[in-house]
Symmetry: C2
Subunit: 575 residues, 2 copies
């Protein structure tokens, strides 16, 4: 090879490397076309209407890589119902209008319309998507988002294979039936869920039907559709299970009989690994756990999920942890493990406290805050209806999305008075049943100074029942927050902050407030947009347990007209 | 009294008369505020979700006088569902945009929105209103419109009192459940209705539940809500019963035990009176009958309604015809009369033929027509789904309302090819099962030359079952038509028109096509707008049994922006 040709070769070689590097580093566009419609499905053997995406519930898993752009063209093929989908855990930096929260960031999508969601998944991790309109999430409109790191970027743990699993609780009644009962003056609560689903598969005992049917297809336990979910593993291999919960109501525990799990990721952030027998998981949370198939390979094992934090009447959800080459339908020879007792608050608090940022991935929080807001969570009556409240204000969604109202200065679209930033810390007894008549309702919001640090303390309290306080998983849109601390009883504004973890707190988008306790979190108001922050229990948010933050609205460029067309924004959308 | 004061008195007196005359002749505005929402109701003792208006189903009766303007401010308080209401029988002259037909004359009304309907009731008579979106009518969103003549204008019959009664059939499943079954490739038909309602009250035998419930409130025959409707009469008095049918499926017969009825009005037109024992009534029709309380006053009587034209499995609906002062809950001492047998087509055809215009109120039809359109009604398969078709084209509603698309010249909003105006008259055998695969679907429409006379022949045929042809009640929006004739078998285009009744045909807005028969009607295309013409059986229209006429669009002034905001008209609505 002469000097000239060597030179040419080198140039070409470098060019090739360059090209391949571009291919490696260049983010891709992942384009999905989804048709949303009603279908009859039997996820737990009981046949009912389910909202499917392309015929499936859970919908297709979005598998992407850090930096990719996701485009979802969502066609609403429901007959008379609108729809909206939230991309849970995706911060929507630069695209706050595609957060998918009806009434906050967009108008609902009408039947017959196709709406384009377009956003970047800017961080590896495990995320979710689900309906965010009325109580539609309960209809089965949900799925997983799985984001891997950029090529060549290692994660702080090793595994051979991975699986996404969504845990859910399942009702046989429709969201309309539930919502009508919740919002009537003779309040009717639908009760505990009929079953628990593991990746869309549950098992309702048809003989337990309070309404037995003569239709053999109405509840049929022989349907393959409701055969237990099978997690097949190869002996000796290590599996990353990406586990998310989208329960309507239930806090859950998840365990795999005879196997330890190592928690390595929470809500898209690496966790300093710790080993558990069972994982407590609250609605809106995601975890990655590593499981090694290191037990006797001659049999299968149970994977189970059960209700905690409420006296369970819902049977455990069962899946099969199947050692290859055993038959996937071969039942384990054992009784499914019962898991921890439902009212063991200490163990759940202990897991919450155990979750710290991985030592090599610490995002140190700002050491001081610019603003402290305390949110007292209570159950109240407003206008003769049972409601949930924050600082005695029960939240109503407006019909004009805040994002548009704020950007277009439609001051009559919602209450311009901000709700209170605290409660009567001195006199309020969090261990006493709530006063039934002392709450109001509002669609007012909290405006946050852009680029400031905000502390939120979520204060739990006794609800309307004697000696009862529920677990509330709060989810923040558009941000991750640092979890600074948990405590029991009433938050002490002077002393408790001294014990905050400011060294290695985990960042999350969803966090539990334990019964009669408090949870403190901190975030930077650095994402221009309007963001819901609410209890992820579907009925609680519907009944007013939420707030909305707005920040940096003046920094937003023009909003896409596709999000407009309802309330005061009729006529704002011109295609 | 001196001359001067007498003069003053006379002037004042004349002024007063003048004032009172103005009050008499001046049309009034009747303003209603309606909130539409879901509530649990037990119209037939079985509790289910019902869409109510101001807490009621049937909704409030609109009682007005000829020439009045009706304003209804309709607030949609459903959670995720849109809505639209059609004013059935009101021609909407000058206000075609308020016909309330989603996809034809307006976009649906979003949750949280208040939509104003404003129209004139320009003719005395008995009319209806009901949801016209998806299959929402079946949820109980319907009511009566009762228009009296102008003061001083007599009607051609006398009565002492009047009552409005709507007959309906009732399903325990939701419209979403029905629609999902009908539109899936493994077609599931919901079957016959569970009960028949008389003015919103029916009686389901809870022990016959195929799905008995442990909830004592789920089906409770002791509820006052589902006690039979009571029609209290004073002995010797004559009652005008304004009877409408809004069944989803069923053709009905209505009778009052031991009493004759005199038919005096049909769809807002005076009928040459005739006496019947039982009234056949099809979905979308209204009749006024006179009943004299001339029987033994010491007891009560049954008023009953039963299914005809389909082999009935639905029990008869029962009301009490209560002679005052007997107790309204005192059961008649007799067995309810069974009514005519379901498959007695001849009697039904005879009633159809008996209905002629009252001799003093004849609107003579044009003696010739400008255009003849024949509509063959068949059941077919399109893309693997069971559908109903007209001339082998199954109708789909577009998502951009025709009225706006035509006025704004949005030619890509729907198929610009008009559907066929006839079928293969020579070769098509109407007595043979339909070919399952020979239909297509379209949202194309028929454009009618303004101010022309149009003849429509509705031709019935065998459906997908052997030796079966159903009764289809066709309803025309925006017009009344003359009913020129009925016949058996295949319409003979050369000979049958010779037997048309061109002397005293009744005008109607809804007419039945009897099994294996045809019905001929004529109307003037003199109402600028876009008008649906369809089978009033909710499932048949949903499955494609309808057409749309457009006429005089260029004569319309600006459309109200309130009807816009969906499909291609997003952004057209600016409040």
């Amino acid at each position: 090879m002469g000097g000239r040709s060597l030179q040419t070769f080198m140039v070409l070689f470098l060019f090739m490397i360059c090209l391949s590097n571009i291919q490696i580093s260049e983010a891709r566009i992942r384009h999905y076309r989804w048709e949303v419609k009603y279908e009859y499905k039997s996820p737990d053997c009981y046949k009912k209407l389910v909202i499917t995406i392309n015929g499936r519930s859970p919908g297709p898993t979005i598998i992407a890589q850090e930096g990719d752009t996701i485009i979802v063209d969502l066609e609403n093929s429901l007959l008379t119902e609108n729809v909206a989908i939230h991309w849970h855990g995706i911060r929507q930096i630069g695209t706050p209008w595609f957060d998918g929260t009806e009434g906050v960031t967009q108008c609902p999508i009408l039947p017959g319309d196709t709406f384009r969601y377009e956003f970047v998944v800017d961080r590896p991790g495990t995320y979710l998507y689900h309906a965010h309109y009325g109580m539609q999430r309960e209809s089965g409109l949900y799925g997983s988002i799985q984001v891997s790191p950029r090529d060549g970027v290692a994660e702080p743990f090793d595994y051979d294979y991975e699986r996404s699993i969504i845990l859910n609780d399942w009702y046989h009644k429709s969201p309309s039936e539930q919502a009508t009962g919740l919002s009537s003056t003779d309040f009717k609560w639908i009760g505990e869920p009929q079953s628990l689903l593991i990746q869309g598969k549950g098992r309702f005992n048809c003989s337990k039907l309070t309404t037995p049917s003569l239709d053999p297809d109405a509840c049929n336990q022989t349907k393959p559709e409701c055969a237990p979910y099978v997690l097949t593993v190869i002996p000796g291999k290590t599996y990353r299970l990406r586990i998310g919960s989208l329960t309507s109501l239930s806090a859950l525990t998840f365990q795999i009989e005879g196997h330890n799990m190592t928690v390595v990721e929470a809500d898209g952030h690496y966790v300093e690994p710790f080993v558990i027998k069972n994982l407590f998981i609250y609605s809106g949370e995601t975890y990655s756990v590593l499981v090694k198939a290191d037990q006797d390979p001659s049999r299968n094992y149970w994977a189970t999920t059960s209700v905690v934090s409420r006296n369970r009447t819902t049977p455990s959800g069962l899946a099969t942890f199947n050692y290859y080459p055993n038959h996937p339908r071969r039942s384990p020879p054992t009784v499914p493990p019962p898991g921890p007792v439902w009212n063991d608050v200490e163990s759940r608090l202990a897991q919450s406290l155990a979750i710290k940022s991985h030592q090599n991935y610490i995002h140190k929080p700002p050491q001081t805050t610019d603003r402290l807001i305390v949110f007292l969570n209570t159950q109240n009556q407003v206008d003769g209806r049972v409601r949930w409240s924050v600082n005695n204000v029960s939240f109503n969604l407006p019909h004009t999305p805040y994002l548009i109202a704020l950007k277009e200065n439609l001051t009559d679209a919602f209450d311009q008075t901000p709700p209170p930033t605290g409660y009567d810390f001195v006199n309020y007894d969090i261990f006493k049943r709530t006063n039934k008549t002392n709450a109001t309702s509002s669609d007012g919001i909290y405006k946050l100074q852009f680029n400031t640090t905000v502390d939120i303390v979520l204060q739990n309290a006794n609800d309307m029942n004697i000696n009862n306080s529920e677990t509330h998983p709060w989810h923040l849109h558009g941000h991750d927050f640092w979890v600074l601390g948990y405590g029991k009883g009433k938050f002490d504004i002077f002393n408790d902050p001294r014990n905050y973890n400011l060294e290695n707190p985990i960042m999350k988008n969803t966090v539990a407030v334990h019964p009669f306790g408090w949870t403190a979190l901190r975030f930077r108001a650095d994402n221009p947009g309007v963001w819901a922050f609410h209890c992820h229990i579907e009925a609680h948010f519907y009944m007013g347990m939420g707030v909305v933050f707005a920040e940096g609205i003046d920094m937003l460029k023009n909003l896409p007209s596709s999000i407009m067309g309802c309330g005061h924004t009729k006529g704002f959308h011109r295609p």
